[in-house]
């Protein structure tokens, strides 16, 4: 097993619709063998002479050893790049980079783990669950979404998890409400020792808060933030930054792709995403006349 990512031409095995999402299985042995749960792949879209230069990043749902090593991702078709991917057929070729980013850190001892997912983000929790179960951990799921069609993997969660709780805003599946509404109850019932999360920012913020209220550590994947803001997936472009407290208490703008996507929930300044907090390292100084930082008209 090597820690360095690879660039590879992968063959599409299948692309299929799963509820409101697309699940794509790719033959990419070199990525499958290096992969650790929480890591992602960065896909070039549009073919060889494409006009779309931004890589699309997807957390990996599962890897299997069939066909020499396959990697499966789950995504929502939201823009021309993901539409192009959704339209691929078996045997099409894709340029992939992976596995990228930092994985979920695993507990050494068999503890009670709570895995919280929202929308397509729930997909990456299954690879994690697999590793945790193999280490003898108990694995409990909480999955949420606006309605039943946007909850990924509820049946699979019931099958492999020690418990699975679902919450939908419209009540079409499981409890009516948000993940936040059910979290305290589930933490109590499962005697969770650690909470893992992947999904929209609001969900991750709730996961972190509730876990913190219970004195539990949380690890969250900021995959969705990375997908909205990133361009390269490899850490060179610096476009996917978010404010994170360091061990030394200093806030730094870290890259969601290369310093994440898995971060300690309590380290992320959730309320300040999409801003540069005034006390962050290197933040523009006070916005008074003549001060530095106000005259950035252009910037390269």
């Amino acid at each position: 097993m090597s820690d360095t990512p690879v660039q590879t031409s992968a063959t599409v095995l299948t692309v299929r619709q799963v509820q409101d999402y697309h699940a794509m299985t790719l033959v990419a042995p070199a990525i499958a063998e290096r992969f650790r749960p929480g890591q992602f792949i960065a896909v070039a879209v549009g073919g060889r002479h494409t006009a779309r230069l931004v890589r699309r990043c997807f957390g990996v749902h599962e890897v299997k050893s069939d066909y020499g090593g396959t990697v499966e991702v789950v995504f929502r078709d939201t823009e021309p790049g993901t539409s192009w991917l959704a339209g691929l057929k078996a045997r099409d070729q894709l340029d992939l980079l992976g596995p990228l980013g930092r994985p979920f850190r695993l507990p050494r001892d068999p503890v009670n783990c709570l895995l919280v997912g929202g929308g397509p983000g729930g997909a990456v929790l299954f690879a994690l669950a697999d590793s945790l179960l193999r280490r003898g951990c108990r694995v409990h799921f909480v999955l949420g979404g606006p309605s039943a069609r946007q909850v990924f993997g509820s049946r699979m969660a019931q099958r492999i998890g020690d418990s699975a709780t679902v919450a939908t805003a419209d009540g079409t599946l499981g409890d009516r409400g948000t993940v936040r509404d059910v979290l305290p109850r589930v933490i109590d019932e499962t005697a969770a020792d650690v909470v893992y999360g992947c999904g929209p920012t609001d969900l991750l913020r709730s996961v972190t808060q509730v876990a913190g209220d219970f004195g539990l550590p949380s690890q969250v994947s900021v995959e969705e933030f990375m997908q909205r803001t990133g361009a390269c997936g490899t850490g060179v472009c610096m476009t996917c930054v978010l404010p994170v407290h360091g061990d030394d208490g200093v806030t730094r703008m870290v890259r969601a792709c290369a310093d994440g996507p898995v971060l300690r929930g309590d380290r992320v300044r959730w309320g300040d995403l999409g801003t540069i907090p005034f006390d962050a390292l290197g933040a523009p100084r006070v916005l008074s006349t003549g001060a530095r930082g106000v005259t950035e008209g252009s910037d390269r």
Binding site: L53, T234, V241, L273, I276, G282, D299
Partner: protein, 346 residues
């Protein structure tokens, strides 16, 4: 130019009849000799560590750092990037760790990789550029200094040093004055100036040993969902293949006016033929920027493709191709054979 081919000579070579592949691509920017002409563009290769996961940096002609500023800067809030047709629009706000951290952590690591390192500098005023240059003077391993003249000029709201010949010249003079003699100083210009040739002349007069052409060009995108500017910075710099024709034009015009000044061509280079285009226009080296976001191994690939493209045209060395497009009509340049053309298309 003096050490062309050192260490890679063949017996034939001394008689000038045949050159090795290593020799064919050797180039120079003033006093700086480079094993090959493919560089990274400033701000597009991270710290180097990220690309080094995919290939050995020493395969590059040189690594150009992100523009270093005196202090740490967090840059602008997200979203910092918007995808546009064949391009990217970015408004980063020059994020970086500041010169001290750069010298402590990033430069020594690059030197360890055995890659020539060109340090890009950006400042808030002429003094800051000068100070940075002085700060780099005693530091071993700085192969050249690239002066980012597209940094915002505090004295000119919304404008940049590179838009005005006098401001550009003042910055270049300050950097040249403090830089170690023998370390080339490159002035990097953006295309959105009234006349890029005038500015290039001013920079060379002020002591620039070479020019890097071009930086990004101001542009803007509006998000049809939010009905607001797509970038927090409202407008941003356009990069990628979308700006390549503009960059080639700039290189061609400046080479015509200053045929002896080395030029690093930048702007939308994604293939070996793109690189060749810049060389024919007058560039002695090329830098790859946005393509690295799409393909981290673009550097070595473009180098291989450029080498093949030169060979296919019967061009013995890169130096022979520099500025070839300026030959008068009627001159019959080396022609590519149809079968080689076919190979390039596939």
């Amino acid at each position: 130019m003096s050490d062309r081919g050192s260490g890679e000579r063949t017996a034939h070579d001394r008689t000038g009849h045949e050159r090795t592949a290593g020799d064919r691509l050797r180039t120079s920017i003033g006093a700086l000799s480079l094993p090959n002409p493919v560089l990274t563009a400033s701000g597009c290769g991270g710290t180097g560590r990220e690309l080094a996961q995919f290939f050995e940096l020493s395969r590059l002609g040189a690594f150009v750092t992100t523009s270093v500023m005196p202090q740490a800067r967090a840059g602008r809030p997200t979203p910092r990037v918007a995808e546009t047709p064949s391009g990217l629009l970015t408004a980063m706000g020059l994020p970086g760790p500041g010169v001290e951290t750069f010298l402590e952590h990033d430069l020594p690591w690059l030197i360890e990789q055995d890659v020539r390192t060109i340090v890009s500098v950006a400042g808030d005023g002429v003094e800051e550029y000068g100070d940075l240059s002085r700060r780099l003077r005693g530091v071993p391993g700085v192969a050249a200094i690239e002066v980012n003249l597209a940094a915002p000029n505090a004295g000119d709201r919304g404008g940049t040093f590179g838009r005005h010949p006098a401001a550009a010249a003042a910055v270049v003079r300050a950097v040249r004055a403090h830089a170690r003699p023998g370390v080339p100083v490159l002035a990097k210009l953006a295309p959105d100036a009234t006349d890029i040739v005038t500015i290039a002349l001013a920079c060379v007069d002020a002591g620039a040993d070479g020019l890097t052409l071009i930086n990004t060009m101001d542009g803007m995108a509006i998000d049809p969902h939010t009905l607001r500017p797509a970038l927090t910075g409202v407008s941003g710099g356009l990069s990628g293949p979308a700006i390549r024709p503009i960059a080639v034009r700039c290189v061609y015009q400046v080479h015509a006016a200053l045929p002896r000044t080395p030029i690093v061509g930048v702007g939308g280079i994604a293939t070996g033929l793109d690189a060749l285009e810049f060389v024919l226009a007058g560039a002695s080296a090329v830098a790859v920027g946005t393509a690295l976001f799409h393909d981290p191994t673009a550097g070595p690939r473009i180098l291989r493709e450029l080498d093949e493209a030169l060979a296919a045209r019967g061009i013995g060395s890169l130096a022979d191709a520099v500025g070839l497009a300026h030959r008068p009509a009627g001159y019959v340049p080396p022609q590519v054979r149809p079968d080689e053309l076919e190979k390039e298309r596939t």
